[in-house]
Structure formats: C-alpha cells, structure tokens
C-alpha cells in the first residue's frame, strides 16, 4: 500500500463515510465528550496519574461482573468497575496516610497489582469471559456497531452509542450541577473547606464519575486510550484559554476532533482506531503548544521579538529627536 492509497483511504473513511463509519465516529466522539467533561477537572487537580491508575485497576471489577452475570450487561460492569475505582482511590489514600508511603509510589503500587490481577483473571477464565487481552488495552470499537441493543423487540442501534451517550449526559449533569463546588475545591481547597463544602465527598464523586466513564469507554477504546481521551484534549484546551467554561467546551471539541480524524488515520493505515485517536489528540496538543495564541511557544517568541523591535525603534526614535 503506498502513501497515496493510504491518504485516499483515510479521506474516504471520514468524508465519504458509510453507515458503519458514521456509527464508529459517533461512538468515538461520545467517548471524547464524556472523557473531556471530567478530564478537565482531573488535570486541574493534578490527578492525571490517578485517572491513569483507575483506568487500569477497574479491570478486575469488569471481569468479576462478567463472571457473575455471564453477560455483557453494562450495569453490573459499571457497578463492578465503579466499586473498583473507588477502591483504588481509597487504597492509595490508605497507603499514603497509614502506610506513610509517598503519593506517587502509592498510586504505582496499587494500580499495578490490581491490573495484574485482572490480566491473570482474563487469561485464566479465557473461555468463560468474553474479553481478550488485546481488547483490554485498545478496545474493539470496530465491532461495536454490530452489537445492537434490542429494547422490547425494537432495534435501537449500537449499544455502545447508548451507553456512551448516557454517560456523556450524566457527566454533563454532574459538572453543571456541581460546577461551583468542583471549581472551588480544585482552585482553593482551604476556602472551600472554610465555607463548609464537603471537599472529600466531591473528590470521591469526581473519581467515581471518572471510573464510570472509564468503564463505559473500556469496550470501545480500552484501558490505556481512555487516559488519552481523559487528559490530552483537556490539556490542549488548557493551553488555549483562561476561562474554565471555555476550556471545558474546547476540550469537548478536541475530543470529538480526535475521534473523527483518528478514524481517518486508522482507516489509512488499517490499524487500531483507538490508537489512532490517541495519536491525533497528541498532534492537536503539539499544535496548540506551538501555535496557541496566548501561551503557544512560537507566539511567545514572536511577541518577545516584536516587543524588542518596538523598544529598539522607540529607542532609536528617541535618540534621533
């Protein structure tokens, strides 16, 4: 396959998409939306790595849900994973507080063994559990449109769209209703506590929503790439604005963009869609870092240069007069 064919494939996939492609892009976009909404607060609280940890450690919860229910019913999975997400945060906290272990190591020790446990369980129950290890890492968004949901005999479309759509709405409600609490608890914990805000509760709530988002997205994009969707678009937005609401909006936009362009890239290379989505989100970040109007590196350099030129001109004028 030469380069031209690749480019053509990619272009066609996005701009002349068939039904399958549209569903995939929609699912991916919803993953981007749901992740960006909670991801913004995750990065502002400097808890990206905790988000990374949760996205790994929910695996045993998912496997247990599978084993118990024998189905891929989403509710037990959400419960199992949500519980494990909270458990991860709790265990990390315990290791930190009681075990007197530094925070970064507490995270590292906790999530690795939970994830290892999950991988062992998946390997061991390979026949009984409808998961394989690769899927765990990068999902199978390609097959998701075929997994439709029947509601009282009516075909309602791909299950993943319904799931991710619901999670997106849930996340949106959460951050809209809790906007000022999340904002204040992140910006100034001291003030929040002195005003009587339940700082710890909101922390666990946020982590709970992160866990749920992770699990819901697990099927589509797998463990590692949920992290990309959680933090990269949010960081890209962070570089471009100083308003929190605008940052959230931009993060959502970048999430959607990563999904759509990622699909194109994956079609071009005939590779993993989730992987491509992560790569695109990274490229968008680099572009924002370089060319962003307020904080971009190049723009800063240009501004300094123009300022220098200005002052030189002023100085020259002054010396002439």
């Amino acid at each position: 396959m030469n380069l031209l064919t690749m480019l053509q494939n990619g272009f066609n996939a996005v701009f002349r998409a068939d039904a399958l492609g549209l569903w995939i892009m929609l699912t991916g976009s919803l993953v981007g939306v749901a992740c960006a909404l909670v991801g913004v607060f995750l990065i502002l609280r400097r808890m990206s790595m905790l988000g990374d940890a949760i996205s790994h450690s929910v695996l045993p919860g998912i496997v247990v849900a599978f084993l118990f229910t024998g189905t891929r019913n989403i509710i037990p999975m959400l419960i199992g994973a949500g519980a494990l997400g909270i458990l991860t945060v709790f265990l990390t906290d315990v290791l930190n507080r009681q075990g007197k272990l530094q925070n970064d190591a507490a995270i590292g020790v906790t999530f690795t063994w939970l994830f290892a446990l999950g991988v062992i369980m998946v390997s061991y129950y390979a026949g009984h559990v409808d998961l394989d290890l690769d899927c765990v890492l990068y999902g199978e968004i390609l097959y998701s449109p075929f997994d439709t949901w029947t509601f009282f005999g009516l075909r309602m479309g791909p299950r993943s769209v319904w799931i991710m759509g619901s999670i997106s709405i849930a996340n949106l409600l959460f951050i809209v209703l809790g906007w000022k609490q999340l904002k204040l608890c992140t910006f100034d914990v001291g003030l929040a506590a002195s005003m009587g805000f339940y700082v710890a509760t909101w922390h666990y709530l946020l982590m709970g929503f992160v866990s749920m988002t992770t699990v819901a997205a697990f099927e589509s994009v797998g463990a590692i790439l949920v992290i990309a969707m959680l933090i990269v678009p949010a960081n890209t937005a962070y570089l471009l604005t100083d308003r929190l609401w605008l940052m959230t909006l931009l993060a959502v936009v970048f999430g959607i963009l990563s999904a759509i362009l990622g699909y194109g890239l994956a079609a071009a290379l005939n590779g993993s869609i989730a992987g491509a989505m992560a790569v695109i989100s990274g490229i968008l970040f680099v572009l924002a870092a370089l060319f962003g109007p307020k904080h971009g590196i190049l723009c800063k350099k240009l501004r300094i240069r123009s300022w220098r030129n200005n002052s030189r001109t002023q100085a020259n004028l002054a010396s002439i007069e």
């Binding site: 502002l44 209703l177 809790g178 000022k180 609490q181 904002k183 204040l184 992140t186 910006f187 100034d188 001291g190 003030l191 506590a193 002195s194 005003m195 009587g196 805000f197 962070y238 604005t241 100083d242 308003r243 929190l244 605008l246 940052m247």
Partner: protein, 265 residues
C-alpha cells in the same frame, strides 16, 4: 462574678493545642478577640502564627481545646468567617480571572446547586472596586503582580460580607501604595464593627495599624492593647528566648506517637 459580658465575643480560643505529625506546635493558646478591633498576631518564624489561624478556621485538627464564634462552635452557617490565606496556597495557573476569584467568595452563601445571582455579581464587582482592581476584572490571575493578587484575595474576603476576618500576612510582598490602600480598607471595616485578626510580619507598623496585638511563640506570650502589651520586655520574651526543653519534650512526644489527651485510661 464577671463584671461585664454584654456582648458575646466574635472569637474565643480556649486552651488550643495543635500537633503537627504528633509534634506540638501550639501549646494551650487561650485568648478572646473582641468585636470591632484590628488585631495583629506577631512572632518569630515557626512560631505557629499561620497554624493558629488555620486551627481557628478548623482547617487543621486540634489536639485539644476549642474555638467559639459568637458562642457557636462552627464557622459554617450563620457566622461566616472570611479567611484570607497566604498567597502561595492556590493554583495560579488555574483558568480564572480576578473577577471570578472574587465571585467565589459568594459561594458560601449559595445553596448546593445554586448559581450566583445578579446581587452576588454586584457584590463581587463592588468588592473589586473597593480594592481598586476593577480594571483588572478580566485578567487571568497569574498575570497580576504580587500586590494585585493580594488585593484580589482581599476583595474575595470582602465579598463574603461577614464581620470576622482572619488574614495571613496581608501585607507580605506588597508595595507601599498597596499597603496604604489595604490599611484604609481595614480601618473602614473596623468602623463598621468588623473584627480583623491578621498575622503581621513588620513590627514597626504594628502600633500604627493595629489596636490589639497577640505575641505568639508556640504559646501566647501576651495579649492586649498595643499600648499596654507591645513592650520591649514582651518582645524580648517572644523573639529572644529559646525554649530548648520544650523542643526536646515535643520531639520525644512525637516519637512516642502521642495519643489524644481526652482518651480515658
């Protein structure tokens, strides 16, 4: 028999002891702050001044003792206390403007899912005006100078519209103009009957700016009106004397994993 207790004092600190990692840093602080005064807390580095404010606010746990605000035990609810922390304690890269920060001061009055109303916005703008920062309302906070940031946090405290203010080094790192502006503001607050307790680092200006002073060095050395208490003898006790036995005992207590005092045998 007590001769006068006609008003309940805004802040009552009784026998307060604070331990940090089991190392006592404040011993048996017992002091009552009266209404309508500007009170300074002074002491050497490590004396526990910031710790005292935080302990009074309930931000760090007490090993013993209690605090009362107008006779009630919590800072939340009816008697809001405005706390202005030291500048380093927030995330300066947070995407928020000066106006936004001041508006956050209203959050304590809003219900769980409530949005700031127009009245809240007006109060926030008014507070910005009072500190002279109205033209910086839309600036991102990391773009402000040190003095400007200090003023924004002061405006936030004003926006809370309470009558008790606890400030941690409000004059640290500000220029002379800002300092004068802040002093005027504080005096204005006092005229309206508010109580301001501020950790202050500059001994020179204590008699000029404040009515009462608390001399603190791990324990309360002296408290009272500046004219009475701010003597060289007291200052010597606060800044001069080291207490090696105290430190030694404290260190031993720490290693013994000090248990809470109110646990019965």
């Amino acid at each position: 028999m007590n001769t006068f207790v006609d008003t309940i004092p805004p802040i009552e600190v009784h026998d307060l002891t604070v331990a940090y990692h089991h190392l006592p840093v404040l011993w048996d602080i017992d002091v009552t702050f009266p209404q309508g005064k500007l009170i300074a807390i002074v002491g050497p580095n490590g004396a526990g001044k910031s710790t005292l404010l935080k302990a009074v606010m309930g931000l760090i746990p007490l090993a013993s003792g209690y605090v009362r605000f107008y006779g009630k035990s919590s800072t939340k609810g009816a008697y809001n206390v405005a706390y202005v922390p030291q500048r380093g304690s927030v995330d300066w890269d947070f995407p928020t403007t000066a106006y936004d920060v001041v508006l956050m001061g209203r959050y304590g009055q809003l219900s769980l899912f409530g949005r700031p109303r127009r009245r809240d916005r007006e109060i926030a703008l008014d507070a910005l005006n009072k500190v002279g920062m109205e033209s910086y309302a839309n600036r991102q906070i990391s773009q402000l100078s040190g003095g400007q940031q200090q003023r924004v946090f002061l405006a936030r405290a004003l926006a809370q519209q309470t009558s008790v203010y606890l400030m941690d080094e409000p004059f640290a790192g500000v220029d002379a103009a800002t300092e004068r502006a802040i002093v005027t503001l504080l005096q204005d607050l006092r005229e309206r009957g508010a109580t301001v307790v501020a950790v202050h680092h500059d001994l020179q200006t204590v008699p000029e700016y404040f009515d009462d002073v608390l001399l603190l060095n791990l324990r309360a050395v002296a408290y009272g009106p500046v004219s009475e208490v701010f003597t060289s003898e007291n200052l010597q006790k606060t800044y001069g004397g080291r207490l090696p036995m105290l430190t030694e005992v404290a260190e031993k207590l720490r290693r013994k994993e000090w248990s809470r005092r109110d646990e019965t045998d």
